[in-house]
Symmetry: D2
Amino acid sequence: MHENREATLKRLKRLEGQVRGIARMVEEDRYCVDVLTQIAAVRAALKGVEKLVIDDHASHCIEDALESGNREDQRVKFTELLELLDKARG
Amino acid sequence: MHENREATLKRLKRLEGQVRGIARMVEEDRYCVDVLTQIAAVRAALKGVEKLVIDDHASHCIEDALESGNREDQRVKFTELLELLDKARG
Amino acid sequence: MHENREATLKRLKRLEGQVRGIARMVEEDRYCVDVLTQIAAVRAALKGVEKLVIDDHASHCIEDALESGNREDQRVKFTELLELLDKARG
Amino acid sequence: MHENREATLKRLKRLEGQVRGIARMVEEDRYCVDVLTQIAAVRAALKGVEKLVIDDHASHCIEDALESGNREDQRVKFTELLELLDKARG
């Protein structure tokens, strides 16, 4: 990763804490719906991390493939994006 | 579009019929949950149509950009895919 | 359906027109990404219709089950909601 | 939580490890798309945990509200489910 590297690590550290927090809630027998709310918060946080990685991928890995003029590298980058799109569509 | 053109048109025609079917259900005061089930079916059908268009886009528009070696066209194709990915991530 | 009945019908009519519009775009060989943008618009419209039906379901069918005190009807309503939730989670 | 309590804790523990694994990948400057693949795996794992909590919620909290015949408790349970559904629909 590139310029989002430190921000990504910071968010992942926080996310790890959030997951631990959910485990603590379950241990303390907190109400299911409160646990579900925290799971939704973790999902949102994960999406934020994903966005940072995608942005870095676009402005570096993809940009490099474009500038290189290397057709095979470009094809790999397109294929990967299409697979990510397919997964994201659910 | 290209080789999926006819399949896409056929599915869109069926999808139009499905939407009309939902309207009929609402007019006939059918049970809400049955209406919701049909809406889910339309959403799944829509996803199938989208897949056909994406596949055609990948094997033609993107492939042409790759083969052309035209950097600006390639950049446009990447940017469009990244925007589609962003929307699909919700 | 109840108070959202007319709004739902109106939106479904518009949605049917949007689907027909996409078919026209495909027939006119419009650019794939423009077709995909319209598909995304239909998906958003479908989500709006779904919201109207869910809201009506909540304020009538579910409310009636609550007021009736009929345990079996209530159980059916909970089960249906849980199934809708399961499908919506993808 | 109830019968899924231990399974949920076990999965959350594993999930915490997966998040730490992603952080390690970023520190080791692994390829963005590999990081994205692991993020997708964490999202899938999170969905599995969520399913365990929802199932417990359904078979205990909701079931208790049904059996109690307490209308206010039932209303709360319906409202919570409707909110979860709304969030899940994105």
